[in-house]
Structure formats: C-alpha cells, structure tokens
Symmetry: D3
Subunit: 288 residues, 6 copies
C-alpha cells in the first residue's frame, strides 16, 4: 500500500475511534465455533478496541456443545418449536457447559492474546442478579425470558478495565436458574447498557436479498424495513430470531445493530472503523 | 434470654464488628457439602457480615463432585500421593464441575438469601489473571502451584459491594488452565489480599488433642506450636494440608487462621463476634 | 448461653446495625442523674453505637442542679405553670450549670470510657447559631422557644467522628441567650437533623397503661393514638411534655420516638438492636 | 485622607492579607475585660480576618471572674507562688466560670457582630481530648501542665468555617479535669497548630524598655534577646510568664509572637496588616 | 496617618475584599497609553487583587497604535462614521499590532511586576473560539459584531491562577478573523463571564455633569438614568459608546459598571476597595 | 483496498494509538510555508491525533516572513554567522510577525478544520513565563538561549482539551523579551514536557545518506550515530541545527525525534501510526 492509501484508512478510522471511545458495544457469538484462527482474530479485535477505549461485552450461546455433553451423559436433547426442553438435569448440564466450558474457553483465548495483562472475566447471568427472568412456557421447563438486566454490573467491570464474557443463564427472584436464548439476552443487555451497537457474529455475510446468493448482501436498512421483510418472509427462516433482535434493539435505543460474517478475520474491526463495513447495519431512522 | 444477657452479647460483639469493618476475610469451604441448612446459615452469616462492612471472599473446592461427574462420563478418577492426576479431559471436567456447578450453586444459595440485592458473583482463578500458576509435577498433568494472585481484582469487586465466590482453577502465563488445591489457593488469596483472617470450614470441631475425642479441642495456638505438632504427627493425617496452610497464612501476614465446624449453624458468626469462638484459632505470636 | 442463643442475638442485631449505620439518633437525658453505673453504661452504649456508624447526639437538661446552684448563691428558684422564671441573674446561673457543669461532666464520663480517642465534645445552643429562639412569654423572662436549628453544625461534628453533647441554651438574632426546655430542644434537633430516632431516657419503663403499675407497659403506638391518650388524660401528667414531643417528632419526620428506662443498664443498646426493645416506641403509621 | 494615602494603606495591607490567608493565628485574651468597646472591636477584627481567610483561634483566661464567683459561694481564693490552689470544689467553680460564663460571653459577643452567620463556637480543653495534662504540683491540687494538644480538632472547626474560642481546662488520660494556665495553654496550642503567629492582648503597649514609660516600647527583638532580658530582670515582673511563653513559642516553630495593647481599638488588625504594627514582635532569627 | 485612620481604611476594605474574592472583574484599557507609571500602578493593582482572590481579565484596544503602523507601511487609515474601514491588508496590520505588540507589552509589564511567578497570558478572541462574530456592515470590510463568547476559556485560565489579557480580534464560524470594537467586546466578555464588575479605565475622571468641568463628577447613577442622559445628549459625544456599553452591561447581568480615571495611580484599587470610589458607578437598580 | 488490507492498517495502527494516548508530542513547523493543502492536512492530522488522546503542541518559526516585514518598514535584515542581529526595532517586528501573524494564521487554519469546537490557542514564550532566556551573545542584541520552560502551562492547556501553538519569543527574569531559535525552543519544550516525541516537519524526506539523492533516506539511527555524522560533516550543512536538536532531545529524555517531509500530506499521521513511517527516526538506544 502507498502512504496515501494508508493515510486514507487512518483518516477514515480515527473519527470512528473517537466516536466509539467510551461507548459500549455488545458482541454476540454463536456457540458453533468457526475455527481457531477466527477466534484469535476476534480476541485481538476486542483487545484492540478496548485499548482505544471501546467498552466491549461478549455474549455467547452454546447449543451444539450442550447437545454433545447431554449425549455424553446419556440424555437425548429434546426440542419443542425449536426451543430446548429443559428439565432440571438438562439445566445442570446447560449451566456446566455454558459457564464451565464455553465461557472458560473464550476467557482463556482472549487472555492468551492479552499478554501481561489478562482482562477477560467470565460472568453468568446469575451473578449478582445480572439477568432476572420469568418462566417462558411451562412446557419448556426451566427456559426463561429476560425481564431485567443489572447493567451497572457490567459497567463496573468495564470501568475497572475488564472485558466481561457473559453466559446466558438467568435466575428468577428466588434464585432459581433458567436457560435463556442468547440472541435475546444479548439484545436485552445492549438495551440496558444503552449500548452504541450490538453486533451479531454469524456464519453468513449478513442479511441477503437472496439467501442463496452471498453477493446479494443488504448493507443498510431501517428497523421498519427489516420488520417488513420478516413479515413477508423474504428472509432465511433461521435468521428470523436474530433479525427480530436487531430490530428490537435499535427500536429500544441501541444506536446500531450489525450482522457480520464471523468467518472473515477482523470483520468486527472493519465493520466498526471503516465507512463501508462488511455486513448488514440496522438503524432506527434512515438518516445514514 | 434476659435483657442483661442480650446486652452482654451485644457489648461483646460490637467491638469485633468495629474491628473487622473494612477488613477482608477469606472463607474456605470444602467440596463435600454438609447439609442444605448449614449452607443457608453460612450464606446468612456472609451476608450479615457484609452488611456491617466485613469483606468476605469465599473459596471452594469440590473433589467428591468431580469424582461423580468423571464416573458419569465413564472415566475413573486417578490419584497419586493423594493428588488427582489431571489429563486434559479430566481438567475439562474439573473446570465444568467447579466453575459450572459448585460455584454456581453457592452463588445461587447466597443470592437466594440476599433478597432484592443479589450480591454473590462467581469468579474463576482464570478470570483476569486472578491465579497464576506453574506446573506442580509433570506426572500429575495439569495440576498447578499458585505463584501469583491478582488480589486487586477481588478488592475491586468488594469495593463494588459484591461478594466473590472463587473457583480454584488457575492459568499459566500462556493462558493454559490448571487445577489447584483449594486449601492452598485460599491461603495464597488471603496472603495476597492482606486479609485479617482465613477461616477453614470443616466437618470437625477444629484441631483436637485426640483426633478421636471431640472434647479435646485446642482453642488457640501459635503457628510455631502448630508446626511442632504437624512435625511430631500428633494431628490427624487428613488435617495436615489444612493445618500447614493455617501456619503458612499467619506467618505470611494474615492476622489469624481459624478452623471451625461447618456443621454448627452460624459458627462463622460466633467465631468472629464472640470472645471465645467455637473452633481453633492460630496466630503468629502468643500475645492473645 | 449456648452458641445457638448467642448466634440468635447476633443474627437479630446485625440487620439493625446495618439499618442504623450512618443514621442519626438523638438521645435526651434528664438532668436528674440516675446513678454513676447507669451513666457509664450509657457512655459505653453511645461509644459502641458510634463504633458501628450510628451518629448519636446527646441532649441534656438540668433542672435540679440549677436549683441547687441558685440556692447556693442565695436565690430561690421561681416557677410559673411549671416553667422557670428566668431573670438575667438566673439565666447566668442556668448557663453556668448547664454548659459549665452538667455538659462537662457528661463529656468527661464519655471520654473516660473512650480510651485513647476521646470523642465527646460539649456544644451549647449558642455556638455558631445552633439554636435560634424567640421569647416564649414576657412574664417568664429569658425563656425561649426554638425557631431554628443549624443542624449541619452537628452533622459536621459527627462527620469528623465526634459525639456532640448539647446544652439547651439558645440565642436570639441579636445574640441574647435564652433558656430552652430540653425535651422540646431535643425534638427540634431531631427533626432538623432528619434523625432516624429520638430516644428519651427516663426514670420509668416507658408509657404505662396504668401509671402506677410498671407491668402495664405500652410497647408500641402511633402518634395519633398517643395524642388521643394525652387528650383523654389517660397518661401521667408529668409525662405529658415528653409524650407530646414524641408525637410531634414522628409527625415532623423523625422515624421513631422511644421512651425507655434509663435505670436499666444498656437499655439504649437493647432498644435499638433487638426485635422487642425495652420501652415504648412511637411511630407515625401503624405498619409495624 | 487622600486617595493616595488610602491607596498606600491598601497596597501595604494586601500582601499581608495574601500572606496570612490560610494561616493560623492564636489570640490570647486576659480574663480581665478591658471595656465593651474594645471587645466589640476585637470581635470585628477576628471576623474581618476570618473573612479574608485567616484562621483565628481565641484562647481566654479568667482569674478575676473566678475569684468573684468563689467568694460568692463563700470560698476564699488561695494562691501559692502566684498559682491558684485548686481543690475539687474550686475546680468545679473554675470550670463553671471559664466554660459556662467567660467563654459563653465571648462567643455571644462575636456572634452578635457576625450577622446572619454566627461562627463562634466554645470549646473546652476537655472536649475530644483537646488538651491533655499531667499534674503540675501535688500541693496545688488540680493544676495541670499541658503535655498534648489535639490540634486537628481546631483545624477541623476552622476548616468548617467556624471560629473556636478555647477555655483552658484540660484533662488527664483518665478524664479527670485540671485547671491550666492560659498563657501557657495558648502557646502550646499555637505550637501544635503550627500557627503563623501568637498574639497576646494585654493592658500595656507591649514590652517597654522602662516599664513605667509607655514611650519606651521595644518594637522588635529575637527570642534570644528576650530571654536575655528576662534573665537580667530588666522586664516588669508581671510580664515574665507571658514573655517566656513568647520566647518558647517562636523557638518551638511559631513564626512570630506579638504582645499588643488590647486597649487600642483594632490593634490586632493594625499589628497584622501594616508594616510597622503597634506592639512588640518576637521572632526567632533577627532577619527582619 | 494615625493607627485609627489606618484601621478605618482596613475595616472598610476587608468586607469588599471578602465580597470580591472569587468574583470576576473585567478591566478595559484604552489603546492610548497614559504613562509608564500609571501602567505599572495598574499592573500592581491587578496583581494585588489577584493575590486576594479577585479574578481580573484585561481587555485592550489600540486605535492610535494601529494608525501609526498603517502609516509606517504606507497606508492611510480610513474611517466611516467613526469606524475603521478594514480591508484584508488593514486587518492583518490590526491583528499584528493588537496581538503582536500591545497585548505583548501589557503581558510584559504585568509579568515584570510579578516577580518569580509571571501570571499574565495573552489571548486573542480567535483562540479556541473565544469571540465569535458576524460582519457588522459590508462597507466596513472585516469589522465584526460579537455574537458569542466562550467564557469558560477565560474561567479556566483564571482557575489555573493566570491573568488573561485579551486582544479583541474575533472570528466567524469559518475561522475568518474580524476586527471588533474593544469597548463592546469587553462588555460582551463581562456579560458572558457573569462578572461582578466591568471597569473602563479612561483619561477622564468619569461621567461629568459638565464635560468641561472635572469637578462635576457624577458618582452614581442607574442604567435608566444613564440611558436618559445619552438620549438627551447631555454627555460628551466621545463618551457615548463607552456609556452605552456600561448601561448594556448592567442591564445584562453584570453587577456594576465603572468609569474611572486611569491617570490616578491605583484608581482601580481605590474604586473597588473603598466606600466612595474615585469615578462613576453604574448599577441597574437605585438601591445603593 | 481489500478488507484484509484495511484490517492490516488498523491492526497495525491501534497499538500505536493506545501507546500514544495521553502522551505529549511536540511538532515543529518551519516558517517557510509549503502550500495551503499541506497546512490543511497537517491541521487535520493534529485534530485527529487529539481526538484519540494524543497531546500535540505546535511550535513554529518564521524567518522568511520576518525578512519580508522588515523590508516593508524599510529595514534590511542583518545576520551574523547565520543568526539574526536583533536590535530593539527588529525585536518588535519579529514579535509582531511571529505572534501577530504566523501564530494567528496557524491557529486560524486549525480552527477552520475543527468545526463546532475550535481548539487551537496561540501562546507566546512570554506568556506566564513559558520560556525563560538569557542573552546569547551581546553582538546579536536581543537573541536569547532558553534556560527554563514552564511546561505545566502547556500541560494545563492540553488538560483543558486545547491545542497550543507556540511562538518562540522568550523573556528574561525582568520581563525583557528576546528572540529564540525555534528548533532549539521546540527541543527545550519537548524535554521539559517529558514528551514522547519531537517531530520536525521539513521540506526534505528526512536525513539522507547523500543530501542530493532523496532515495538515500536513513530510516533509523541512534543519537550517537547521528552525532558521529554531524561531526564528520556527512550531512547537509543546513540540517545541522535541526539534527543536533534531535540528538539533544533524545539524550535529554524525549522518547523519539523524527524528521519528516512536510510536503507529503498526512506524513505526521503515517509516521506515528504505522510500523515503517516516512522519515528519519532518532532514538537514544539501538533497541528498535
């Protein structure tokens, strides 16, 4: 690259860095790991953004790994309308896998890149009442909907220079734990934190006009336009919960929601610090 | 009780409350749960002490529960000289059970007693470099000795009004997790925090002159006297690691080490806030 | 006492300690000393409460001692409707006795129990405009009604870790001193300080259904109920000013007013830190 | 006066005002009141100096008034080598007169000039351990020498914008009150406060070459020169304790000691804010 | 002077010093220097006032010096209705003379009197957007009217213990510099700073009943009375802009406006710190 | 550019941004303006760096413009050994041109790019004693060497979010102004500020092996190597003062000295935020 090209990237990025400094960004990762390289690049992105003052919170799911563990202890996963039926034994396994394995591995990956100052800390929604829930549906057992987020807990950790990694187990007022959908929990956290952005890392480039053609990426749309597409079923079915969460997030005060491709290394950095980004951006108003 | 008796307890307790306000106390719990009632009484004690300004940190082990889970996934626990041989698969199970189950259950129990303000937060030694370790012995696999404690992490949580519950998984400088002996980890944490006290909750009344006679409780002794007894093998063998940890703690700057009976409800409160206590107290100097 | 009984007192007291930490409590003592032992126990109570963060202010009267001194300098005390007629010479004696003797003795008693850190300081209502008054009744001479309390003066002393002992001499806007009724002054101070409690130490157990039978103690009543009793004269006549002050205090924002028996050692501690107390408690609303 | 003369006074005074702002000055008043007008002028001076940031502390004695009161209650004052023999009854009277009368009157006078913000507060050496003493001489009874001053107590009051007026009753470690010489107590307070100045208000113009000729005022001398004069008895005998206190004060770290004429209205202001002053100034070194 | 006379000046001045401590005062100097002695006396006054906490800002003009420099580079000054026609070349000269010469000389004079701690700093209205302007009249070229003052810039300098000397060049939103009338700029600054006073130093004693007779000084008048005189042309024509600025200043919130004689040494000090002052004082309301 | 290339620039730049955040950087500009475009790019760079927390101070010279103005007022510039002979009249012109013209133009250029928040402020070395000097050589007149820098003045402005632009006029202890060499003044300022970097913007690419061949740029060298080259005269003569200033700066504690090409737009940004830079970097030790 020529100095002029380099200068152009920097001149473009610095205002974004300034704009996001001190702002909170919630990044949701799927449980389905992509590859070790992508994970390391993401860990680097989070640490780089932190180093210039961006307050990143990671929220993770973990469906596939839970299934594996359930089967290992001889229990067949069971779903109803796409939602996991969660009896007491299942809940215990879910909690062990999310908090005791996936969260741990993410914390370890980030800290392995952080050199002398490991900054990642695991947090569960049960800790200090971070996620308060009510039961979603008796038939599903211990599956909960988020009714409260104690956002100051995350803000305090961020104020202390730490990077929280959140497992989406919540608890009701009596302290009974519940399993919570991670896309939804990430949205609730972003709204409660008055985050500038929520970013969903996925295994697709973003929202596609034609779900089968990766060249039909929609770069920007409003939440109203997004809801319209959801209603008219012009989006891939598997994407619907994530897309609804995006629309809800911006309508409830989050500045921007992004769906980006976790397979592209450093996609988080590019999406945040360049004019054009690499995925789909959702905003409330159309004043781009 | 008569008003005079009540007044006597209060007049005795208030100077202790004043003395411990703002001081840190590390409480080590065994993995072997005693009973639900004891757990609830302990949770209440921790919350009551917190309410008058005592900074409690809980550290837990979990041997028996790890054995159970290992067997459940078809793996026989293996020990060498009383220490668990920890291959990669075992480590993963240890981590899941300690961080994802025992820690979670303790957090939930405390928060269930905390009413509108749940304050317990789970922390693992891997979080933000809390416990740095080096390998203990190649033959044991991923078993580590604590070489560093980032005590300010716990102090920050306490400053924020939270009560940390610590799982004793550490990590080396490259982020590789290791299993750590919980009695030892508790001692290292107490020393690093410049704690006023370390309290080991056990299933015995304390140090006994005659390990078979619960009426032979030793109320007080110095670390030198304790080391003498350990050397002359006049103590129950199973108690030795805990007793050594007590002697080390006070010799390294912790004010007092206590071994008390976790089966007596509220034994923590009684030990701390009355003149006579209920267990064994170890101090460096004999100036009682 | 068994450990369980001891634990019970502590479990009961700690929430009160937490609740009162940082709160202000005004304690009114009569001029009629009970006995040296009671005074020492009271001094200890005040110091113990202070040590756990309760902000105690003592307010004292001194009628009998003033009479003694007046007679000593050859002047017969004179009263009209139970109120002292206070000419200039009487005022000078009142001031000398209250500020220069009773207040001094209380300060000395508390400091004698405070060991290396004497904390009691004498304050007169004249100091820095603490108590502003207007003349009560021309016929009484220099007797005043409190029209203003500079409560921040007491709060500043408390913030500095000191325990104020207040003599109830006030001054008008021109600096002329006036004698003030101590029960009334205590109420005005408690209201202005937004105190949690006002406690009147007396030589009776509290409000009695039958003033002649100490077993008929009324444990709790509302200010409305109390006013009703005053109106229907079902209370001992000598108690009326104190009872009115109690009703006024809670109706003007003080949380609770208490009348307790100063003869019972540590009655202040018991009243504040146990569920049942030892005297009569007055509250605005009946939601016990 | 012409504008030029006025300007001259201001140009001269402003650097002093700047220099003394934030500094502490201890002013000792005799018990022998001079006249009401002088008292009012002094009260104004103290308030004016306070308004520009000078931290004034007043210390008073009260011999003549004590004598009067003793006789009023039928007790003849008794002295040994010029020092009052102080039995328990005498001590009680001393305390009542100093704390309950003279201190009160000074506080009232200052507050009467302070308008909407009365700032004077009475303090006794017994309060919060302000003056710690040991017995001076068994034959004198309760007469003490100052061995400790808790200067931060006065600094805290000054920090709060208040003006302390100090009665010189001290207490030993057990809380027993003692009578203390006021000149000496003022010196001890000035030293402990690291005061810039100590000012003795007297009924003479200052130190005179010839005690009988007021025109022989010594304007400045060093503490060594002053000690020399004391030793050679070239000073009025009655002045010796005051002069020794001056020499001791500057040798122990007080910047300057002054003896000025309390009969000249506003002499305090003139001494502090003009180049030439009106009395005698004592300094450690001769570098005027 | 006698001590009594000296005391009188001090007793009179101290309340003013207290009143002005922490308050802001804007002093406007003409460009026409009077004499070196007056400048030095003014510098001393500003430093003395600063030393007792008065926050002085100096604002200067410079018409005559600009004319001299214009002629030196061969350009004849041109005026329309008394206002300077300012083309680009003129503007550059105005800026050089005001910022690069007059301001510099004032800064140097003050700092030469400030000893070890030079405190004067030059500021131009262009710096950090201090003075925002819009063009006054196309025919006049780069002459602007002040539309905004960033007063916190001056307050920050004053907070840092510095004394700002302001040149009255402003800039529009695009950064184009404009020449601004100094009397007007001083008023705008005083209003924006919520100054206690604005003082115009002139070469006359103040407002005169008869502009030809210096003995007809008007000591005090309200802004309404002043506007009335301006309207009825009973004032010297050359004084009108200054007088209007005085009336505007007090009507827009400045406490007092003063016109004083810069030729009288220390006139600033006398005007501020004595009851009678030396010039004309304008206030909004007539409640003197 | 591809996303990967963009990511690469960002991943490279972010650690630098973090490293320089909160650090001070002194940028020296020649008086010989290059072109309007370069100036605007520089202004943008300074504002972008400021926006991410870099504390930039600009220092400027102005030889050519001074010559022009001197000739305009009919005075021929005079030099001795390359240094300007500065009589009183010349000094006045130098001051007017530097402070009243060049500084002003730089401030205006930066503020024109700063939108709603103009942040540039002009400062002269005379302000508040920023640059203290002693005469350099009697024959040169008012030419001074910097003997003191009051760096906290610049730090205070930076703390307030402002960007200082410094003219290199100093003053001696009596307030007499002196002309100072700008390269030297920039070095003295950087040393006193404990700056991370000093950057000299020039009209050449940096230090060249062969001054006539721009392709022979020396990218890095130590101060010892640089001094060696200066001594052996293997550098362009005109560069010597700047090169000596670079060597002195790093030997006196500045982290790095840079000579970069002011003609390359955004060269400041590229030099600071990329691994390779565009000019010559001087460091004390060779541990690159």
């Amino acid at each position: 690259m020529t100095p002029t090209e380099t200068a152009q990237v920097l001149v473009e990025a610095l205002p974004y860095i300034r704009q996001f400094a001190g702002k909170s960004i919630v990044v949701k990762l799927g449980g389905a790991a992509i590859d070790r390289e992508s994970d390391l690049a993401l860990a680097q992105d989070v640490l780089l953004l932190r180093s210039v003052g961006v307050r990143c919170v990671l929220v993770h799911g973990g469906g596939p790994q839970v299934d594996t563990m359930l089967r290992r202890v001889g229990k067949e996963p069971e779903f109803r309308d796409g939602l996991r039926v969660t009896d007491e034994e299942t809940l215990e396994i879910v909690r062990m896998v999310l908090v005791g394995k996936i969260n741990r591995d993410l914390v370890a990956t980030i800290n392995s890149q952080a050199g002398a100052e490991p900054v990642a800390v695991g947090v569960s929604g049960e800790d200090a009442g971070l996620l308060t829930v009510t039961p979603a549906d008796r038939a599903l057992g211990f599956v909960g909907n988020v009714t409260g987020v104690r956002a100051e807990l995350l803000h305090r950790l961020l104020d202390d220079g730490l990077t929280p990694v959140v497992s989406t187990i919540g608890a009701n007022a009596e302290g009974q734990p519940y399993n919570v959908n991670a896309d939804e929990a990430a949205r609730a956290i972003a709204v409660a934190m008055q985050a500038e952005k929520i970013v969903y890392l996925t295994a697709v480039p973003g929202l596609l006009e034609d779900p089968k053609d990766e060249n039909t990426l929609v770069h920007r749309l409003t939440s109203a336009e997004l809801r319209d597409r959801i209603e008219h079923e012009s989006v891939g079915k598997g994407m619907i919960p994530k897309l609804k969460a995006c629309a809800d997030a911006v309508d409830q005060g989050v500045g921007f929601a992004h769906i980006i491709d976790g397979r592209v290394h450093h996609s988080l950095l590019i999406e945040l610090l360049t004019d054009h980004g690499v995925g789909t951006m959702v905003k409330r108003e159309a004043s781009w």
